[in-house]
């Protein structure tokens, strides 16, 4: 029976290991030999850039790190480009995390910037670390920041930190940016902090989260959005700093091949169905 099948039909029975090999090579080769494809910026990314670019020096930006090692390759490039943008403009950064992994991600990221921008802990930036409780933490700091964060990650009292002068509730920060890979994340920050207290906010999220967040972007509750690695690459193009752009070649080829697989799989399916009907 199998031998009666045409070439196009047999294409649908291709061993999955061939698919794995092709996808593996499609990612691996462009990483070794970059194609240098031009990254085209989308309006939602430009909105994020403009929002950050309009912040005056000294602005205190709260960045919440809601991602872990599994989503690090997708979200961290956004964080790198964002911190370059902020520190270049002499903005100050207060980091929090609603994911336990988030504080490791943020700590590692700040280490990359400390020397380059001559940053001082507690003055130019501070890492407050992780607090359990998801949106309850956001609701808590919305009323009493220091009741939820008494100390920073190094054990210093928050009230002794110059960067925290005058910050008693979340509305006292000038801007919120979330680096988010799921729940709790961007949506919770919009619902419980940015929107009720009119705090300007923007976000970088994993591609799969965009559907969930884009209605808030469309409604103006979030200034733009960095959507997945492509968003990171676009932002890097605008900031002119970062590494995500080189990964876009690999992602381009992989996406193209997956689309090709879908088309070939469907051609095989249609040919097979026609033959069955005519038989």
């Amino acid at each position: 029976m199998a031998n009666d099948k045409s070439f196009l039909e047999r294409l649908g029975d291709l061993d999955r290991r061939w698919v794995f090999i092709i996808i593996g090579l499609s990612v691996f080769i462009p990483l070794l030999v970059p194609l240098g494809l031009e990254v085209v910026t989308t309006p939602t990314t430009v909105d994020v850039f403009n929002a950050i670019d309009s912040l005056p020096a000294g602005t205190r930006v709260l960045i919440s790190f809601e991602y872990g090692p599994s989503t690090q390759p997708e979200v961290e490039p956004m964080g790198v480009a964002l911190l370059h943008h902020l520190f270049r403009k002499d903005c100050r950064v207060i980091a929090t995390a609603l994911w336990p992994d988030g504080q490791f991600m943020s700590a590692r990221l700040f280490e990359l910037f400390e020397a380059e921008y001559d940053l001082e802990w507690g003055v130019d930036y501070v890492n407050l670390g992780f607090r359990p409780g998801a949106e309850a933490v956001i609701k808590g700091i919305a009323k009493e920041f220091r009741a939820n964060y008494r100390t920073d990650l190094r054990g210093n009292l928050v009230e002794d930190l110059p960067i925290m002068d005058g910050i008693y509730k979340v509305a006292d920060v000038d801007f919120i940016f979330t680096l988010s890979a799921g729940y709790p994340g961007t949506v919770e920050w919009i619902l419980y902090a940015a929107d009720p207290y009119n705090i300007p906010m923007s976000s970088g999220v994993t591609a799969i989260q965009v559907n969930e967040v884009i209605p808030y972007v469309d409604a103006g509750q979030c200034y733009g959005i960095l959507a997945g690695m492509s968003g990171a690459a676009e932002y890097e193009t605008l900031v002119k700093k970062g590494d995500a752009t080189k990964f876009m070649d690999a992602q381009s080829i992989a996406h193209f091949l997956i689309v090709l697989f879908i088309i070939l799989g469907n051609i095989s399916y249609i040919v097979g169905r026609r033959r069955q009907r005519s038989a």
Binding site: G12, R16, V19, F20, I22, I23, V27, L37, E38, V40, T42, P43, G68, P69, S70, T71, Q72, P73, F104, A107, R108, G129, R131, P132, G133, A136, V137, K139, G140, K143, N148, T151, L153, R154, G155, A207, N211, E212, I214, P215, D218, A227, G228, S230, A233, M248, D249, Q251, S252, A254, H255, F256, L257, I258, F261, I262, I263, G265, N266, I270
Partner: protein
Amino acid sequence: MFWKTQIPVAIVFVVGMLTLVQWFIPHRPFDQLQVHMTQWFDIIAVFAVILGGLNLLKLQFSKIINRKKDWQYAIVTLVGFAVMFSYGFFRIGVPGEIVMGDHLQAENSHFRWMFFNIFTPLSATMFALLAFFVASASYRAFRIRNTEATLLLVAGMILMLGRVPLGALLTKNLPSFMQLQNIQEWIYLWPNVAGARAIMIGIGLGMVATSLRFILGIEKSFLGGDE
């Protein structure tokens, strides 16, 4: 019955009503309720970690004792749990005098080394495997069986190509409205937002209804058992 049902239901009613009321009365003492209650929640959430840990131990030990399928992996899980727990909780392998909490992040601490050199690559590997399964599934399962499936598939393909530089390159000589990056942006901002909003409103209404059922004691599934 009184202790197992009526008291918990009464607690849920009182706490639920107070939480609800504080949204509508932004004055003392109601405005302070949120501060206190969110702190209570934070404290209770910490205890959930203990419950989670105990549950993990119970499940994995039972898997090993009963020699269930792939029980050997349970040993790896337990060893991983014990090692990370010990190094984190008992400050093993922490250089110098570093305060509790900060020792997890200290540059030469063993916990940090394990997090970044074992946990991080393992997590990233697991996530990266998705690319292979998605590719394989796209080849075998994404079929244009009807109009809805065809629409979904076409939209998906446009998004996949429109989000990457190659999509822009392939269509850069076409009129603007036919360029993939512009079509994908339109799909994101119009049909997608419409659908997402409809789902969000539905979820919101469902949450209101479910919350009311809990507060009013109609829904008692949180009590466990057959209540």
